[in-house]
Amino acid sequence: MRDYVLRRLLYMVPTIFLISVIAFIIIRLPPGDYLTTVIAEMSANGAPADSGTIASLRARYGLGDAAYIQYWRWISGIVLRGDFGLSFERNVPVTSLIWGRLGATFGISLTTLLFIWVLAFPIGIYSAVRKYSIGDYVVTFFGFLGLATPNFLLALVLMYVSVRYFGQSVGGLVSPEYLDQPWTLDKFADLAAHVWLPVVVIGASGMAGLIRIMRANLLDELYKPYVVTARAKGMSEFRLLLKYPVRVALNPFLSTVGWILPTLVSGEIIVSVVLSLPTTGPLLLRALLVQDMYLAGSIIMLVSMLTVVGTLVSDILLAWVDPQIRYQ
C-alpha cells in the first residue's frame, strides 16, 4: 500500500509540472503582452508613454527576458510566496479572487460525484436484473439522451421550463437576500434548494455513462455458474445478488472515478456560466474575454491541479478498499 501511494505521488510531480507549463503558455498565448494593454490605455487617456517609460516598465516586469526565465520568475513567485500575479482588469492580486470560487467549483463537482454514484449504483443494478423490462428501456432511453445532450443545453432547457411554466428564473447558489449574510441554518437550507439544479445538470451525462457500465458489468456476471450454484442452494435472490455478482461488478464501476472527476469539473465550469453560479466558470470566461491572462492562467492551473489531486485521493481510497488495484 505504501509503495502504491509513493509511486502515485511520484507520478504526480511531472503531471503538476506539465500543468504549470501549459498554464504559463496559455498566459503568454494572446498576441502582445500586459504592456501593450497599458500603453494602449495611456494613449487612450491622452498621455502617450515615451519610450523611456516603456523601457523601464518592460524591465520592471521582465518582459524582455527569455521565456524560461519568465516562467521561473512566475512559478517561483507562486511556490515561494503564494503570489499568482495581478489581475489586470481589477488591479488586485489573483489570490484574492479565486479561492472562494475554487471551493465552490469543487464543492459542486464533488457533490455531483456523490449524487451520481448513489443513484447510478441501484439504477444500474435494476437495469441489469430486469433486462429488457419497461423500466430498463426507460433508463436506457434517458441514458442515451443524457449522453447526447450537452450539459449547458440541458441547463438552458431547464431554465426555459422554469421561466416559462413556473414564472421564475433559476440560477445562483443562494437567493439574493442571503448573498452577503453569514452562514446560518436558513441559508444552508436555501443553498440546498438551489444546488440540486446544477448537480443534476452536470451529473446527467456522467450518470448515464455509469449506469451503462454498471449494467454491462453486472450482465456479464449474472449468468455465471457461481450465481446458478448459489441460487440452487436456496439463497434468497436479494442476498445472492448483493453478495456475489454485484461485488464483482463493482470493481470497474469504482475505478471510473478517475476519469469522471475531470469531466465533472469541465461540466461545472460551463454550466456555471449558464446558471451564473459564483464559481470559477464565469470568472474564467470573463478573464479570457478581456485577456486578463494571469487570472485566467491561474484558474486553469489550479482547477487542473486540484482535479489531479482529487483523482489521486480517490484512487488511493480505492486502492485501500480493493487490494487488486494496488498490485496492478
Partner: protein, 372 residues
Amino acid sequence: MSAVAETLDAGDEPRIVVAGQWKLFWWKFRKHRLAMASLVVLGMMYFVGAFAEFFAPFPVDLPNTRYTYAPPQMLHLFQDGRLAPYVNGYKVQIDRVAMRRTFVTDEAVRIPVHFFVQGDPYLLWGLFPMRTRLMGVEQPGQPLFLMGADRLGRDMLSRVIHSTRISLSIGLVGVVISLSLGVLLGGVSGYFGGAVDTLIQRLIEFVRSVPTIPLWMGMAAAVPTQWPPLRTYFIITLIISLIGWTSLAREVRGKFLVLRNEDFVTAAQLDGLSDLAIIYKHMVPSFLSHIIAACTLAIPGMILAETALSFLGIGLQPPIVSWGVLLQEAQNIRAVASAPWLLFAPGIAVVSAVLALNFLGDGLRDAADPYA
C-alpha cells in the same frame, strides 16, 4: 461465428466461410436496426449540410426587419384538394400591457411556397453559380419561417441548415487530425513498447487527467477575433483534436499490442519486411474496422466541444454559423422564454446528430467483431 450464422440459413454456411472481412462486417452491421436507421439519418444530415445553399430557403444572414422573432409557420401542402403548398401570413398584434409585438397566424393570407424555385444567385461551395433552391417564396421579403425567425428576422431553418455543414464537418476534420495523431502515437507506443510506450502512456494519462473545457477555453480565447473565418475554423478544429486524440491512441495501441505477437506478424518479420510495411500491409488492415468504429464514437465529442466553445463565445464567431453559434443567441433566457425556437431548433439538431453518431458507432463496434 454463431452471431453471423443466426442471420443466415443453415444452407448458407459455405457463404460465411468464404466471405471476406468486410462482407461479414456488413452482414453483422445490417442486423443492428438502430445503427442502420442512424446511418440513414446521418447520411441525410451530411447531404443537407453539403448542399446547404440549395436546401436553405434563404441566405444565412438575410435579415427581415418586419418579422423579428416571428414564430414558426406551418407548411400546408394541399389547397382545395390539390398539391399547392402554402404558408399562412402573420398578423401583428400589439400587447399593450407588455408593450411588445406578438405575431398571430393570419388564415386569410396564403403565401404560396414553390419547390425548386429560382431565387437570388449564390455560389455553391463558393464555386458554382446557381439560382435554384429547394423551396422558396415568389417575392423577396415574403415570410417563410418554418422554424421561426431570430432577433434580426433571419430564418432559423436556413441558419440551422448552414450550421449543419460547419458543425458536422468539424467533427469529421477533427477526427481525421485526432486519428493521425492517435495512430502515430498509439502505433509507435504499441509496436515498439518499452520506454517509448511508457512515455506516451504517461502523456495520454496526463491529457485525460486534466479537465478539458478550461484548457480548450484558454487556447481558443487566444485566437484573434479578426482572423478570417476559415482560419478560425481550422484553428478551433485543431485545438479540439489536440485533446481528443487520446482515446483513439489507446485503441490503436491496444490492437498493436495484441497483434504484435500474432503468427502472421512474426512470419512477415521473418520474411524480412520492414516495420512500416508490416504495420501498413498486415496490421492496419486487420483492425481497420475497429478504428472506424472508434472514430465514429469520437466524432460526437468533437461536435459537443465545438458547440460548447462557440456557445461561450470563444469558438467560432459570426458570420460563421455553427450549432454552438446559434445557441449563443439562446443565452439570453428572457429572449428564449418568448422565442423558444432559438433554443430548440439548434438544440434538437445537436442532440439528434450526437445520438445518431453514438448509435452508429455502437453498431459499427459490434460489427467489427464479426465472429464474436
